[in-house]
Symmetry: C2
Subunit: 149 residues, 2 copies
Amino acid sequence: MKTLEALDACYRDMPPVAAMGIRSAGWDGRVLRLQAPLAANVNDKGTVFGGSMASIATLAAWGLLTLRLGEEGIKAEVYVADSQLKYLKPLVADLAAEAWLDEGTDWDGFLRSYRERGRARAQLVARVLAPDGSPVAEFSGRFAALRAP
Amino acid sequence: MKTLEALDACYRDMPPVAAMGIRSAGWDGRVLRLQAPLAANVNDKGTVFGGSMASIATLAAWGLLTLRLGEEGIKAEVYVADSQLKYLKPLVADLAAEAWLDEGTDWDGFLRSYRERGRARAQLVARVLAPDGSPVAEFSGRFAALRAP
């Protein structure tokens, strides 16, 4: 997947993601931004549902890795292996999320591993943000890319 | 919230949870079971979306704590504070999840803290299961109960 348009089409094709209205908001080659409306993601307290925060953060990280691989001409299946999520404060607004490669990730080593063995793992970071830009949730996840069958 | 019926009504009232079709499947006073259909939770690979696994696990743990507090006559707001999720294998079937109090949680101490200070924290565990009962994801989360305003 090479373009943001293709990524958005992929998001729209996933029923739970379409229901949460999650879509791209920007991609500068380093950071992927997503957004989603509050109304589709509200919980019993009128704030954003924790599962929606987990979903948009996971999708931002997954999408970032998918885009970076696409830029290398690699069409891999990308899976989330594990994740940690810290909820910092409630959000009563539309969601914004941004994801990037964890600074500890050796991208060259990742690509070498993928090309040699058909699989590689990378650590990604994402945040869910309030409209003022302050983080409301912090996500860290390990993802695996496997050569598509 | 005292009953499984009330918990189900609460789940149905949350738009993202209703969209994922998450509902109760059993409560024995110790373990809460939830379920959700594959069709509403499928990803680009035809398997269950990771965000849906995160959502059902979080809701199972949140619901369990809410039910346990209700049994004590306590009407608290329950929040997830942080969570870890390990994805073990893809699932191509309806989701089942079960949650319980982590064995390290001191329930009497939790209740004492809540009654004295109006707030307390508990560690909960949940699993997402395949139809054969094998775990496909393992969840651990810290939750806070705060006296409802």
